[in-house]
């Protein structure tokens, strides 16, 4: 399994568990999946990273579920005054990508993050123009019919290819990484 897949699975389950006490399920040993053409029908948070690796991480969550989670967190009174679901999606994406950035930084692949942006709409699809790598991870929500999707598109800088640093995050070495399970 690619290390980015492992980091994304670990980060997403940990962020949801710690920040909002929601248990997501993802089989950490499951094989990687092809990036499906999932139409966005809800809210997608995105955070880009630039540096030794360039790319974008997208977190896709249904709008009703995002509203439900923020309602549980802030209560009816606050949610009646302001819709926090967009902020919620942006913040979660920021934390997941922040974890990814930290782990890549530990391996010498320093990156910087952009502030989160949020896309809402119907029948939009996510595409990346010729990414070097693309990763898709889906998570089941404990006891719910909801699914949360994370897309990661990565473009490797020529310098990173040449330096051989890419070997650090791909191939057999990835399986040696210790992963904190949800």
């Amino acid at each position: 399994m690619h290390l980015i897949t492992k980091y994304v699975r670990t980060a997403t389950t940990n962020v949801f568990k710690k920040m909002i006490k929601v248990h997501l399920w993802s089989d950490l040993t499951a094989p990687e999946q092809e990036i499906p053409e999932i139409p966005i029908d809800g809210i997608a948070g995105s955070v880009s990273f630039t540096g030794a690796m360039n790319g974008t991480n997208y977190l896709l969550i249904s709008e009703p579920y995002a509203k439900e989670l923020t309602l549980a967190m802030f209560g009816e009174k606050r949610c009646a005054r302001m819709d926090y679901s967009r902020d919620f999606c942006g913040e979660m994406t920021n934390m997941i990508t922040g974890y990814l950035k930290s782990r890549l930084g530990d391996r010498g692949l320093a990156c910087k993050l952009t502030p989160p942006t949020v896309i809402t709409g119907r029948e939009l699809t996510l595409h990346a123009k010729e990414p070097s790598m693309g990763f898709y991870n889906a998570f089941d929500v404990d006891g719910r019919a909801e699914r949360i999707h994370v897309f990661t598109f990565v473009q490797i800088e020529l310098q990173t290819w040449q330096s051989g640093m890419l070997d650090l995050i791909s191939g057999e070495g990835a399986d040696e990484e210790e992963v904190e399970t949800a």
């Binding site: 902020d87 913040e91 930084g105």
Partner: protein, 131 residues
């Protein structure tokens, strides 16, 4: 007893408030460094929680400004951040930051960190009404 939290995320404030819900403490939240600096002119709180990634005035600059104020030279500061690099740690040590916590964290984790810096009185249970 007053704790001031400075973070641009409503979720982080919500978790801190949840963590402090059983403590007899006032929690004031600010969403950016400039807003917090204005409010802090009225005097130091018992503890400051500062996110490093803040709009308007970044967390490190904010901590530097706070520490330059005489009445804040002993105010304990707990830093909240998505990541702490060695360079940032050195800067934070220079400003005598007492501890840090990385996001994501649970309400129990932040409460443990806060209580290491500031013993928190528990809220007294409401007196039972007599018939």
């Amino acid at each position: 007893m007053k704790i001031v939290g400075i973070d641009d995320s409503p979720f982080v404030h919500a978790i801190i408030k949840d963590a402090l819900s059983e403590c007899d403490v006032v929690y004031e939240e600010y969403w950016n460094g400039a807003e917090a600096l204005n409010a802090l002119m009225y005097g130091p709180p018992d503890l400051l929680l500062v996110d490093l990634h803040l709009p308007v005035v970044c967390g490190i600059d904010l901590i530097g400004k706070i520490r330059s104020l005489k009445s804040f030279d002993r105010t304990p500061i707990l830093v909240i951040s998505g990541e702490i690099t060695k360079e940032k740690l050195v800067q934070l040590m220079h400003f005598e930051v007492r501890d840090f916590i990385c996001k994501p964290f649970t309400n129990f984790e932040i409460l443990r960190k806060i209580e290491k810096l500031l013993p928190l009185p528990r809220r007294k249970p409401a007196a039972a009404s007599t018939a």
